[in-house]
């Protein structure tokens, strides 16, 4: 298949390794601290936003592709990147538009598919 021939396998390997390492950091936080998963997700998104705002996260994206964009740090970095780009286009107003605009697809998908999946799911009967 032509598509498979066009694949950059080294890029895929870098993606696998970097994505995996970011998850290891999360796992260490789970095992070594008493942080709840919600707090860990918030830490990852905020860290990603700060790294994105400082312009550092894009180097990781250049290196690892989806290995950097798929983890929640990438979601945060994308919010920050969107805000900065929109500020360049429309000034202060962009600070309020850009972040959500850049991640609108993900947020809308999460809300829509989340609701849909909840509707079709059967609630578990808790065994005591």
């Amino acid at each position: 298949m032509e598509f498979l021939q066009s694949m950059d396998w080294m890029q895929l390997l870098r993606c696998f390794i970097v994505g995996g390492i970011i998850c290891i950091i999360g796992q260490i936080l789970i095992d070594k601290t008493k942080l709840t998963p919600a707090r860990i997700l918030v830490i990852f998104v905020t860290t990603g936003a700060i790294l994105g705002g400082l312009g550092l996260y894009k180097y990781l994206i250049d290196f690892a592709g989806a290995g950097a964009t798929v983890p929640l740090t990438g979601f945060g970095a994308n919010l920050a990147k969107g805000a900065i780009e929109e500020v360049q286009n429309s000034g202060l107003l962009g600070a309020f538009i850009g972040g959500v605009k850049a991640s609108a697809g993900g947020i809308a998908a999460a809300v829509f598919f989340g609701y849909l999946a909840s509707l079709i799911a059967k609630p578990k009967i808790k065994k005591q």
Binding site: S6, C23, T46, F75, G98, G99, S103, A121
Partner: protein, 150 residues
């Protein structure tokens, strides 16, 4: 008698002693390869989108939408929670964990109705993520105006 519940400190030590030691190396290994695999699936989807002539930014959005949709339905079918138990942060930290965090509480509170039960509880974990993520982006945007405008 040495009562472990005497002081806060003693109690904390008592809990640490009694709670099972989580095998951190094994957990990290599982988190590594499952997390890496999820990111790689994302990379292959992104490459396919670009192969079809899509721009990078749009390709990334498609990846997010597909992974979120998959994770949401796998959570609904109670498959994702089994992956989560095995992989820990490997499935929590990628965007799939965000989708899982929306669907899990929504299912649990389904009995409270489709508006406040499902619609409201969807955001018990995702809400804080959006609050902090979006707030950070607004602050960063405001800071950026000083560098762009000035």
């Amino acid at each position: 008698m040495d009562n472990p519940l005497d002081t806060q400190e003693k109690y904390s030590k008592y809990v640490d002693k009694k709670s099972p030691n989580s095998p951190i190396l094994k957990n990290c290994f599982n988190a590594f390869w499952v997390g890496g695999l999820i990111c790689s699936i994302g990379q292959i989807i992104a490459n396919f989108c670009k192969y079809q002539g899509m721009e990078q930014q749009s390709a990334n959005t498609v990846v997010s939408i597909i992974l979120i949709g998959l994770a949401a339905f796998l959570t609904g079918l109670n498959i994702f929670n089994k992956i989560g138990k095995f992989a820990g942060a490997g499935s929590l930290i990628p965007i799939t964990g965000f989708a899982n965090s929306i669907v899990s509480p929504a299912i649990e509170y389904k009995s409270e109705g489709y508006v406040m039960g499902v619609g409201g509880k969807m955001f018990t974990v995702a809400g804080p993520v959006l609050v902090f993520g979006i707030s950070a982006s607004v602050i960063i945007g405001i800071i950026a105006t000083f560098f762009v405008g000035g």
